[in-house]
């Protein structure tokens, strides 16, 4: 049930069909991390994909940056209601990283430096829907925004795009990650407003 709020008329600046329900447009790039920004050195940076057999696929920074990167132009939507349209990134597609990975599991846990985790169905990371991004707006990704590299899966709320990504683990079932254990939706589709439990 919606009631009208006495005396509120709003500014109606956000009648933009590119905005999912309940979102407002920002020109900013807000930072909403649960803890301090980790300090990650490129020489010790590592990204791994671990499958159900225990097999680990591993890339150091040099190996990662030698992979083909793509330009990405996309909208991003945060569960705290801000959306940023037309953002530009550069990153390695997960299709490239998963090329030699054999798995029968359907879910993935994203692991970040620090304690952060977030879960996502495997199919949401494939077929051109996700990247490990290292560049934002033509410059190396800032640590505050997840640098040196973050996962980028823009069709879901942005908490699913783990900053400071360090690895992906295949999972049989959809286990909840950090925010999913702390009140947030297991899937997070902005177009269905899947914010909370």
């Amino acid at each position: 049930m919606s009631i009208f709020t006495r005396g509120f008329s709003g500014r109606k600046r956000d009648e933009n069909p590119a905005l999912p329900p309940g979102q407002y447009l920002t020109e900013d790039f807000p930072v909403l991390s649960a803890g301090p920004t980790p300090n990650i050195h490129q020489d010790s940076w590592e990204f791994t994909i671990t499958t159900e057999t225990g097999q680990v696929h591993r890339w150091n920074w040099e190996q990662f940056m030698a992979l083909p990167s793509e330009d990405i132009h996309t909208d991003i939507h945060c569960v705290t209601r801000w959306s940023k349209l037309g953002t530009t990134w550069r990153g390695v597609s997960l299709d490239t990283l998963f090329a030699d990975v054999e798995t029968n599991y359907g879910y993935v846990m994203e692991h970040a430096y620090g304690r952060y985790t977030t879960n996502v169905p495997y199919e949401d990371l494939r077929d051109g829907k996700a990247w490990i991004a290292h560049t934002f707006e033509g410059k190396p990704l800032d640590p505050e925004h997840g640098g040196p590299a973050r996962l980028l899966v823009p069709h879901l709320y942005f908490w699913k795009s783990a900053k400071w990504i360090t690895g992906l683990t295949m999972m049989k079932d959809d286990e909840p990650g950090f925010w999913e254990q702390n009140g947030y939706h297991i899937y997070g589709d902005p177009w269905k407003e899947q914010r909370y439990w």
Binding site: T5, G7, F8, G10, Y24, D28, V31, L32, G183, Y196
Partner: protein
Amino acid sequence: MGTVASARAETPTGRSILIDVPDWPGNIAGQHVDVRLTAPDGYQATRSYSLASSGPEPRLQLAVDRLPDGEVSPYLVDDLLPGDMLELRGPLGGWFVWKESQTEPVQLIAGGSGVVPLVAMIRAHAASGSTAPMQLLYSVRTPDDRFFADELEKLDTVTYAYTRTEGGGRLTRDALEAAVLPVGAAVFVCGPTGFVEAVASWLVDLGHDAGRIKTERFGGA
């Protein structure tokens, strides 16, 4: 759905608001609500606000700072009247919370309106009779910019850092070190992103474990 019971100016741009919510399920200190405003033509705007209150009482307290280009905050600070109805959703948030079962010392660090969820923690801590140390470092421009000034003045566990007064200035790492509990305390930092970023990284430099620092950032680049 809640009814505004009363509102009080806290600062030149900020206001605290008491809201009666008959079916409130209760909340933990540090949680927030989503407030949704609906215009006559159906346009809606929703924003999150931390609660200064906690526990089972069906009377909540919010405190809101008016943002210059805000959409919801100007309405809540300037237009909302006692007797008005307000649509709320909550309580929300399971991470940036303090429960009386936590027995370790707690350091709270606030920038501006970031003090609101930390005041909820101070109140819950006092109500629980906990003997674990809890102290607050509160950074604001001037003494007039403090939320809940009267209430905080009664405590001897609050240190202020005034950034725009004579003899004041932006909080420094040394001043932070002098004001906070030793390494090992649980730390909660809340405020504008730039403030939280600086404070959190100094705390880590000072030896605090990143895993014991919880941050809540109020947007911005």
